[in-house]
Amino acid sequence: MREIVIISGKGGTGKTSITGVFAHLAKNKVICDLDVDAPDLHLLLHPSKERVEEFHSGYEARIDKDSCTQCGVCAPMCRFGAIREDEDGFSVDPLRCEGCKVCVAFCPAEAVRFTQKHCGQWYVSSTRFGPLVHAQLFPGGENSGRLVMVLKQQAQEIAKAKGLDLVLCDGAPGIGCPVISSLSGTHLAVAVTEPTPSGMHDLERVAELCNHFQIGFSVIINKCDLNPDEAARIEAYCLAHSYPVLASLPHDPVFTRAMVKGLVVTELPETELSRELVRTWTRVEEMARRVP
């Protein structure tokens, strides 16, 4: 079984629109949306949820007003500035609480309660392109690499159970915790970039991250005609580092038109762009087969 993750570093490069196209074109796969913070793939795939699970992760401290003796031991010990004192006494700001349990352990009156946090939901759904594993963290909550791991594991189990040989993942922007979890154990990362200063800069950072974790890395340059000079610089950079450039796609509002219809570009009447996307997918598949 192979796992491919589409990432971008910079947001808004077209990662999800392109993942949607690949979800349409790939055969025998499980689709997985690993952008658990701001997922969008479901807007193209219209999943019907078949399984809904709660996601619990970490703990949250809460001061029981009746037991609190106002001694103030907890506040200076909290490294996260989460303990406030006002006219009602001490309380924990849930948005700042890291769940480290220090206040719980050091409260002489045992007045701090410590409860597990319900952080979001995850789903197994069916879509017109096949099974989809996805999630939604509650806005404002903790962004969790652990939830990303849960989704990947589910997707692999489904693939095994149904005899499917590919897990196709939409990753998250950035290079932090959820992205690192997305890349763990993956065969091939495909970075969608754009020829802008930010696109180039962020591409270098995700490439470095993939090298750090020794993951196969390849690149799609989207909106390549916005700045042909920068696109050429990206190509030269990829060549110098032996990162295959799998496609250079034009800036085309058809991606937005498809999105408004809730479809992917290859479901619209055929154009040169959609033919190029089909060729691109063939190259991605070929790459995924070749990496160790």
Binding site: G11, A38, V102, F106, P197, S198, H201, H212, F213, V260
Partner: protein, 293 residues
């Protein structure tokens, strides 16, 4: 006044707005890049860097000779950063959140503070403004503790030379994004009226509304997608502070690293007027919330 420029979806134009506001700002200002995973503001403001320093998180270091293997530290650690197995103590620095609990609780004082590098903080000047950015070390998973250190540096800079700050926040609606905007006086949400943009915008509103800060919307690539965004803003009482049209010429100027406010007199006027609207919005206190001076 601290102004956060945030968005749910990435790539909606946060950095474009933060850079343009910086160039038209009319008083002392620190422009801060808090998108520490992928900082981009410097690519547009092109600051001269005057200083840089590594930022560290405090992690435990074991003094084997004092340890009695009692396991009190590993029982407390919620992040699986210490494990005690028989007479073996393993510390996993990359799992540590820096809460300091193990150091405080060890009955033998066998743990002392060490350091893990989170990233690099750099500062300098960009035109008339001061500039500050954090760049997370590649391979480092935790951005919130690093962002706290960048913000501590900002407090230092504002204490030395008082003024306003514009924060370019990370995308998303979870922990890092909320951490970025939590201490600001006003939040500007930059979005685009596409289905993805609108969907993530609603999540962003849900995440940031509980902070009780004055909030407004900048619509980028106006004219794309649909009108749903405008109805939502009306219903939630979110003012539309500015609209930047969908225009290939703007996208091309951005792709060449230009600050959008410098592209045409009309665009400059858009950001000058946005500056005024932001000041009005910050001055308008919400019930139970006192705006800063």
């Amino acid at each position: 006044m601290i102004v956060s420029v945030a968005s749910g979806k990435g790539g909606t134009g946060k950095t474009t707005v933060a850079a343009s506001l910086t160039t038209v700002w009319d008083g002392p200002l620190v422009a801060v890049d808090l998108d520490v995973e992928e900082p981009n503001l410097h690519l547009f403001l092109r600051p001269t860097v005057e200083g840089r320093e590594a930022a560290h998180l405090e992690i435990p270091v074991l003094d084997q000779s004092r340890c009695t293997y009692c396991g009190t530290c590993s029982d407390l650690c919620q992040f699986k950063a210490i494990s005690v197995m028989g007479k073996l103590v393993l510390i996993f620095p990359e799992m540590c959140h820096g809460c300091g609990g193990c150091l405080a609780i060890c009955p033998e004082k066998a743990l002392s503070p060490g350091q893990r590098e989170l990233g690099e903080i750099s500062w300098g000047r960009a035109g008339g403004a001061q500039f500050l950015m954090g760049r997370l070390r590649v391979g480092e998973a935790m951005s919130p503790p690093f962002m706290r250190l960048v913000k501590a540096k900002l407090d230092e800079m504002l204490a030395a030379s008082p003024g306003d700050a514009i924060l370019d926040a990370p995308p998303g609606v979870s922990c890092p994004a909320v951490n970025a905007v939590i201490d600001s006086d006003v939040i500007i949400l930059v979005t685009e009226p596409t289905p993805f943009g609108f969907h993530d915008f609603q999540l962003a509103w849900e995440a940031f509304a509980p902070l009780g800060k004055p909030m407004g919307t900048v619509v980028n690539r106006a004219g794309l997608g649909s009108k749903d965004l405008y109805g939502f803003c009306r219903d939630k009482g979110l003012p539309i502070l500015a609209e930047i049209p969908f225009d290939r010429a703007i996208a091309e100027a951005y792709a060449r690293g230009r600050v959008i406010a410098d592209v045409s007199p009309q665009l400059r006027e858009t950001f000058v007027s946005l500056r005024g609207v932001i000041r009005d919005l910050a001055g308008r206190s919400r019930p139970g919330e006192v705006a800063h001076a």
